[in-house]
Subunit: 439 residues, 2 copies
């Protein structure tokens, strides 16, 4: 054990890693005061030793030797911030193997290899803490684990990806198409050069995987979660949503059904404009949790970024360090709703979902086309609540027709769309968005 405080080793000195160094330095005094002893950053490993990160690393051993860091007896807790799957997995397992506690922000790693990692940690009696992996600085995992621990969690849903929320907020306010807004987000650094991870909903699905584990004790990987991104949205969809009293947000949604099944999905969703989530704009995140005792709750904050994510990493460091000093470390992970005891749970299939649907058809502007579409919906017993049809004048031109349905089983919607998309007047696949009325 470090002579002076608990020793930290940091692997990966990118944006978040630099944020961790800044928080440990800038807030050293309150951290020491709250713990009763300091956190001591003893060692950093990164392949890039040249870039100036704008932080003072004097007194910290900084080299590219991550193996040496893991073996360093001064290092009691390893912070894994290299990201990605394979190297991060090997490093995390190697740290656990050496009896080091691990703090990570790597949602991709845990969503894919969580079972293996938590099993290894439980066996070795070390902690793996991961608050920073979901919701950035929002203490949502702790709130599930501690604050709402007396509840059966019945549902959760939220805005779990800041990049897509930034793009959607901009599309809504500017009326510009997806590609234009995405380009600007990339120029501003809000979106990656390859944006798929964010805009296709994969990042949100990773986070939802972890939330579902914490909330429902369900073991699944993110591949089990039906995921749709935001590429198909057009400015018209935001206008139409507004006329229906709604906003469009990319939500991760999970519910525990009474029959033991779990519902989990990520997709762009229409939500009432009056709901709190509808007012979560820009790159901010918010996660609503419903517990059987507490009722509805919501946790809001920055879902990404150097300092907010570092805030969560250092909170994890403080928790483990405190347990180390008490002699009861190795207990944090098992208390994370015992990840190694997660059980597979049957999933609700999309066809079984029930709710209102937003349908944007693309059809030639001919007489009778609405009748054909309405007919196909009617055959599946789908009632129409509202229609927005914009005539353009020329019969040769495709125009959008937006229909809001009454609540309906999704299987019926899919059957109807299969019919509609075969109609000769319908010139492009129909966009189908789900509406969540209870947000």
């Amino acid at each position: 054990m470090g002579k002076d405080g608990v020793g930290i080793g940091l692997v990966g000195l990118g944006t978040i890693g630099t944020g961790v160094v800044k928080v440990l330095q800038q807030n050293a005094e309150v951290i020491s005061e709250r713990l009763g002893f300091p956190l001591r950053l003893v060692r950093i490993a990164d392949l890039d030793l040249d870039t100036d990160r704008g932080v003072d690393l004097s007194g910290v051993r900084f080299d590219s030797d991550s193996e040496g860091l893991l073996d360093d007896p001064e290092v009691q807790i390893v912070v894994e911030l290299i990201g990605g799957y394979d190297v991060a997995r090997r490093l995390t397992l190697a740290a656990i193997e050496r009896g080091k506690h691990v703090v990570t922000a790597n949602k991709a790693l845990l969503a894919l290899h969580g079972a293996e990692i938590f099993d290894a940690a439980a066996e070795r009696g070390v902690d793996v803490a991961f608050e920073a992996s979901v919701g950035g600085g929002i203490p949502i995992l702790r709130s599930l684990r501690e604050g709402l621990s007396a509840n059966q969690i019945t549902s959760l849903h939220g805005i779990m990806n800041g990049t897509t929320n930034y793009v959607l907020t901009q599309m809504e306010s500017s009326g510009e198409p997806f590609e234009v807004v995405l380009k600007r987000a990339q120029d501003l650094g809000y979106a990656e050069a390859d944006p798929s991870f964010d805009v296709d909903g994969i990042d949100a699905a990773h986070k939802l995987t972890l939330l579902v584990a914490m909330a429902f004790g369900a073991r699944l990987t993110f591949k089990d979660i039906p995921t749709e991104g935001i590429r198909g949205l057009t400015p018209l969809d935001f206008e139409a949503a507004e006329r229906f009293g709604c906003k469009i947000k990319l939500l991760g949604i999970a519910k525990a059904h009474e029959d033991g099944r779990i519902e989990a999905r990520v997709h762009p969703t229409l939500i009432p404009a009056t709901s709190l989530l509808a007012h979560v704009d820009g790159a901010m995140n918010a996660i609503a949790v419903h517990g059987n005792a507490v009722g509805p709750t919501l946790f809001y904050g920055a879902g990404a970024g150097e300092m907010p994510t570092a805030s969560a990493v250092v909170a994890d460091l403080m928790e483990i360090a405190r347990e180390l000093r008490r002699g009861s470390a190795g207990r944090v992970a098992p208390l994370s709703y015992a990840p190694q005891h997660l059980r597979p749970r049957p999933m609700v299939s999309l066809g079984d979902l029930y709710g209102r649907a937003y349908l944007r058809f693309t059809a030639l502007d001919r007489p009778g086309v609405l009748s054909h579409i309405a007919g196909a919906l009617g055959e599946q017993g789908i009632g129409i609540e509202s229609v927005i049809q914009q005539a353009r004048g020329s019969e040769a031109e495709s125009v959008p027709v937006v229909i809001l349905t009454h609540p309906v089983r999704e299987a019926a919607v899919r059957a109807a769309l299969a019919e509609v998309d075969r109609l000769p007047d319908v010139t492009a696949p129909t966009l189908f968005l789900r509406i969540e009325d209870e947000t």
Copy 2:
């Protein structure tokens, strides 16, 4: 120690106490699973043994002997839910004296006698947990203590009283006067027969006292907090606020100044209608916290009520029970930012506040009255951003004149109002509301 789980003794079987019994019973399975052992309700004390609370108390000793409960070796944690000051204080100190850990929802008790109670607990090495005392089911104290532990908290503000928020929301939507809405709230059970505690801001000031202690390590009692209630608001104020792009909420506000001073106050406040807090309606609560690493966060949920409050009480029970089993109980309270180490901090006086002001004058509808008012403001260097004047036709009648100022020191506003309220045309004291632009 109880043979089977950790033993709980409950004093006070009112609304919240009954909720605690329900949560312990309904969620017994998840509680045991998460802890690894059950919480065992062994004993309840209340003076009223006759009322049917609709819960099954078989297997629980239920009598009026609170002293016997404190002495019962089966009782390891005492839940104090009798409310009020004196009896609750004596009971809590007696429990601590006997080495029992205490969970309480009694914000009034802690806001007034917190220093004495936490000192006694620290000396005896027991925990006093009080999550339920602020924000009902919202895990706000835990979030400050654990989730945001790596941050210097720079400010917090929020809707901390559900009754007043219900009244304000109703006044805004119905356009009815305070008295009418309050009467309805009382009929519906949202407000007490004697509503002073809520509508005069006292309850919010109690909660803010605890939040300030947690967030800033500042020791103060609620009497140190300037507090204004909502009785003076009229329907016109909500209309005028809307025209200024604002909503009116009763906020508790606290800020840590860089010079070490603490700002803390409770009053009806104009906030931008676009802010999240502006959309927190009805009896719900929400507390926004700003940390130097995490940035802005917000925590939303039911601020009162049987089950939400019980959710927080049982979360505290689970935390202490876990520490008991680990052999490290008595550490929860010291980790609550070490309440026994709280330090008195100099307070910012109201005169030093700086911001826009909302002023509603009541004046005879005579030519020149606006000029007199504007003159008095001008003499104090107060710039006018906007004026709403409703002429009524008769010079003998008093009419409201609403003025929105540019940002100004509050001392200047007070000096100007002292002048204005002496003017012969001004027939009633001026209503002054603060505007918080950064919410």
